[in-house]
């Protein structure tokens, strides 16, 4: 065969091949093969090559390997050199390709940490939902100043592209190589800081870009951002005004009050409501004073020896002043009120117009109003006991005003998850620890969810309390609700207790529960490994 090729003696120049293809395309019955391309004299030109078809095929047989063997690569028209700073532009080269990636700034993580991440990234290996552990890995890596190996960049980018919650963590650790890759793929553009923080872009920006710009600018320069909005607020359409006002939530401060106060007179109700919701968070405002006065008028005292708080319902017609300060229908609850009512188990309580107004007023008025009327938080909360509108209103005020003093007092009676971030972790753990120990299997879930909101990692003591209580659970589906939470929050010191728990459930009747506990143990030990391996740069 090789002799047939090498001994062909056929000139393998392009036109002959093209001529051959032309003949083959139209067929020999319409076009004869020119003699020039026939491979006469080759070993193939033996019997059977008397027909045109055979001659075309023989020519193809000889010329095709010639073409394959004689193929030469294209020359690159100008490519970036190895120097990252040299994009080729200076040398006058026009190239569609990017310069090589600059060197990474972070050292690569330890081999063990990389192995753990491998386990988490390969689908279906160890964990049904490794998301929490991946987040933990990313957080620890970011804190430890290390990066994943380059081979893991692609799976990380792909996963975070599909799951937005992972993006900040991934963007924080992918380093130069990750940003270099992301710059070449539109679907990875989220890795790069793409938000334009240049205020001069405001004038020419479209609606979505204005919103992005305002949000980004509020984080770094809230004053400038506010002034941009202030100058244009009168001319923007209502829907966009409301959107932009809501964006002032980032970086909110007393300097924003004059603008928000003026927006209470806006033409659009949505804008008025957005401004009022932000002013709820600024109790020291003029609106705060007005609402304090309105609330004070409703607060009374009963009893001479043991003073009790009495709160009257406001009048049906509150007057134009209060309507301005509390825009919108009071019976339509804000998202915060809905969440609180849900956590209080008051989701379906319907209230009259006057009760709803009182709730609105209590939620928006400064909490200091009660102190000025001479009442401690505990007394107010006791009086609110059987008045849902007061409880919800107070809780909403505590969350909006982020008042730690009131939060501690309210939390003592009502361990709402929304209050947990405002309460010192030690106090939250102490209160919730008691509830964990006393909770029935079904009550356990809400208490643990509240404990999940504690800002700091659970202490060893609290973790032990939780595991002790959890070990008494006998129904696997109860545990499904909070297994991942435990895996995320438990202190690693409880690992021996969890091992004992595994052994205790290793009986026929408790198989499903046993599986749950084993998965919990796996996740906990994985989390500990991640923490240890990524603690500080190697």
């Amino acid at each position: 065969v090789s002799a047939a090729i090498s001994g062909a003696g056929v000139d393998p120049i392009g036109p002959d091949w093209d001529e051959l293809v032309t003949v083959a395309l139209v067929g020999t019955e319409r076009r004869p093969l020119p003699a020039a391309v026939a491979p006469d004299g080759t070993p193939l030109a033996g019997a059977g090559l008397d027909r045109d078809e055979a001659r075309v095929l023989a020519a193809a047989a000889v010329l095709a390997p010639w073409r394959a063997a004689g193929w030469r690569p294209a020359e690159d028209g100008g490519h970036p050199s190895g120097d990252p700073a040299d994009t080729g532009v200076e040398r006058g080269e026009i190239t569609g390709r990017v310069a090589p990636a600059p060197p990474d700034e972070r050292p690569v993580c330890s081999a063990r940490a990389a192995q753990v991440l491998d386990l988490l990234l390969v689908p279906g290996t160890t964990f049904a939902d490794p998301r929490g552990l991946i987040l933990h890995w990313l957080t620890c890596a970011a804190a430890g100043g290390v990066r994943p190996p380059h081979r893991q960049l692609l799976p990380l980018l792909a996963r975070a592209t599909a799951d937005g919650a992972l993006r900040p963590g991934v963007a924080a650790v992918v380093d130069q190589r990750g940003r270099w890759l992301a710059a070449q793929r539109p679907d990875w553009a989220w890795v790069l800081v793409k938000v334009d923080r240049d205020p001069s872009a405001w004038a020419t920006a479209g609606r979505a870009e204005r919103l992005d710009l305002l949000r980004a600018l509020r984080a770094t320069d809230p004053g400038t951002a506010r002034r941009l909005l202030e100058d244009d607020v009168a001319t923007l359409p209502a829907a966009e005004r409301a959107e932009l006002v809501e964006a002032l939530a980032t970086g909110l401060g007393p300097e924003d009050e004059p603008l928000l106060e003026s927006l209470l007179d806006d033409r659009a109700r949505t804008v008025r409501m957005a401004a009022a919701a932000l002013l709820d968070r600024l109790p020291a405002s003029r609106r705060g004073e007005r609402l304090a006065a309105a609330l004070t008028a409703l607060i009374g005292v009963s009893g001479r020896v043991r003073r009790r708080v009495e709160v009257d319902l406001p009048a049906e017609d509150a007057g134009p002043g209060l309507d301005r300060d509390l825009p919108g229908d009071a019976r339509v609850s804000s998202p915060l009120v809905v969440a609180l009512a849900g956590q209080l188990g008051l989701g379906n309580v319907s209230q009259g117009r006057r009760a709803a107004r009182l709730r609105r007023l209590v939620a928006a008025a400064p909490l200091s109003t009660w102190g000025r009327a001479g009442f401690e938080p505990a007394a107010v909360i006791a009086a609110a006991e059987d008045r849902p509108e007061l409880v919800v209103g107070l809780a909403a005020a505590v969350v909006a005003q982020a008042d730690h003093y009131w939060a501690a007092a309210l939390f003592a009676r009502l361990p709402l998850p929304l209050l947990v971030p405002l309460v010192p972790p030690a106090i939250a753990e102490a209160r919730l620890g008691l509830r964990v120990a006393r909770a029935t299997d079904t009550e356990l879930s809400p208490v643990l969810v509240a404990a999940g909101a504690i800002a700091e990692p659970w202490t060893a003591g609290f973790s032990a309390t939780v595991v002790d209580r959890a070990r008494a659970v006998r129904v696997p589906h109860v545990m499904v609700a909070w297994r991942d939470l435990l895996a995320e929050r438990l202190d690693p010191s409880v690992l021996p207790a969890v091992e004992a728990w595994i052994a205790a459930t290793d009986t026929d009747g408790l198989r499903p529960l046993h599986r749950q506990v084993r998965q919990l143990h796996q996740a906990l030990s994985m989390r500990r490994t991640i923490t240890e391996e990524l603690r500080g740069a190697p």
């Binding site: 020999t28 078809e53 095709a64 394959a68 294209a74 020359e75 380059h150 692609l154």
Partner: protein, 446 residues
């Protein structure tokens, strides 16, 4: 099962049949090619060419239903057609996964008879194929492109019947390539030339040397059994080759024939895996540290089965290889269990792009059907956006080659960052498939 019910009627079925052990048929699915369905009643085991990963798929179940309920619509015959009774060879010359190619203790006389029968069948098939090739060229490739898939599939089916599954596979692939490739006219002309070359080479098989014989067997799809390779020149049935009754004088050198053994410390330069929905295939490229020779180890498994564990890219394994007949680079088997000796930090001797192309040209000259050759490039930068939009490998000197279309370039880009690095890959029809990159003194598989 519900889907199977719908298919359990004679309508979509053709060429059905059954024996005591086997039920088979072709089922017209949504594609133009009917699926080949076989049910082994002794297992029961199910085999179907459809892309479904369900085992058994609806076609196999429907075939069973049709056979049980169909009142003779699946006729009994004495023996199953060859292509259905055996899984299709995964690659020309590949060892059929899970199939026992021949009884362990073969009766030499019966074996010789079977071989003679096979050669008769192949002779007839080759004649038929040559007539078809002539028709193709007489009527013109442009009109062939207008033909439905069935035109190519029909020819492929006849080639399978003629025990030429390797050619059948190439013909079948052409149907899709004609509509996928922009250079389809060049491609079909060249491929028709290679088919014609196979026809002519078969006719003069008694004058071919062992290497060319091996290459021809691969392109025709006449598999060489594992035991034949291992038995080499020593066994009683050594090297059956293609020799016909008059071919005893065929050239047989110690080199290039089946069974040649090479002992070396082999660098595992790269591994490539494919999974087409029915079959998993694995190519392992080895390079002798001492001899400098390349060898290719192929493994196959049906989907759902387990491929033999791949050697780890970058490790150096000591082993004796038994080589298949053929030109360089040659297919091989591990004759002894490979033991890992060390991890290599580099790919060994590398060449510029020009050198790799020269080696590829030598390989094409020796074996015009060679599908791909292994190349180690000493320094190329990978880039996502070449002039045509595809990924390219660029040499600092300026030579630029494209990456194969089926390779996702991003893993390689993540590893190299666009910096020039040594790479190992397969040179395949004018494109490079990067299998391994050397970064930071480590060989990293892609």
């Amino acid at each position: 099962m519900k889907a199977a019910r719908g298919l359990a009627r004679p309508g979509p079925w053709s060429e059905t049949g059954s024996t005591d052990a086997l039920v088979w048929g072709r089922c017209q699915g949504s594609g133009s090619t009917p699926y080949q369905v076989t049910v082994d009643l002794t297992g029961p085991a199910f085999r179907c060419s459809c892309p479904s990963r369900k085992q058994p798929c609806k076609h196999a179940l429907a075939l069973l239903l049709l056979w049980v309920e169909g009142a003779g619509s699946v006729a009994d015959v004495d023996r199953a057609p060859e292509d259905l009774a055996r899984p299709r060879p995964p690659e020309a010359g590949g060892r059929s996964a899970g199939a026992t190619d021949r009884p362990a203790l073969a009766d030499p006389e019966a074996q010789a008879r079977r071989r003679a029968q096979r050669i008769d069948v192949m002779d007839a098939g080759i004649d038929d194929f040559e007539r078809w090739l002539h028709d193709l060229v007489r009527q013109g490739l442009a009109s062939a492109r207008q033909q439905p898939y069935a035109y190519w599939d029909g020819t492929a089916a006849r080639l399978v019947d003629a025990q030429l599954p390797g050619l059948a596979e190439r013909v079948r692939e052409m149907a899709g390539a004609l509509h996928r490739r922009s250079d389809w006219a060049d491609h079909l002309t060249a491929e028709a030339g290679r088919w014609f070359l196979a026809v002519r080479a078969w006719r003069r098989r008694d004058r071919l040397d062992p290497a060319a014989t091996g290459d021809l067997r691969v392109v025709l799809g006449w598999p060489t059994g594992r035991d034949e390779v291992l038995a080499g020149l020593r066994g009683p049935n050594a090297e059956p080759g293609l020799r016909g009754p008059n071919a005893e004088g065929g050239l047989r050198g110690p080199n290039a024939g089946a069974g040649e053994r090479v002992t070396d410390r082999w660098l595992v330069a790269g591994v490539h895996r494919t999974d087409d929905g029915r079959l998993q295939a694995q190519r392992t490229w080895l390079r002798g540290r001492g001899t400098g020779r390349w060898a290719l180890v192929l493994d196959f498994a049906v989907v759902g089965g387990t491929l033999r564990t791949a050697q780890v890219t970058g490790s150096v394994v000591g082993a004796e290889l038994a080589l298949y007949a053929g030109s360089e680079p040659r297919r091989a088997l591990f004759a002894t269990d490979p033991h890992v000796e060390e991890q290599a930090g580099d790919l060994g001797p590398a060449t510029p792009v020009a050198g790799a192309l020269a080696w590829a040209a030598d390989a094409v000259a020796a074996n015009p059907w060679v599908p791909r050759v292994p190349v180690v490039l000493e320094r190329v930068a990978l880039s996502a956006g070449g002039p045509g939009g595809g990924a390219v490998a660029v040499e600092p000197g300026g030579a630029m080659v494209g990456l194969v279309a089926d390779q996702d370039p991003w893993p390689a880009l993540a590893l190299t960052g666009g910096h020039p690095t040594p790479v190992f890959g397969e040179w395949e029809h004018g494109s490079l498939r990067v299998l391994t990159v050397a970064v930071d003194d480590t060989l990293v598989p892609l």
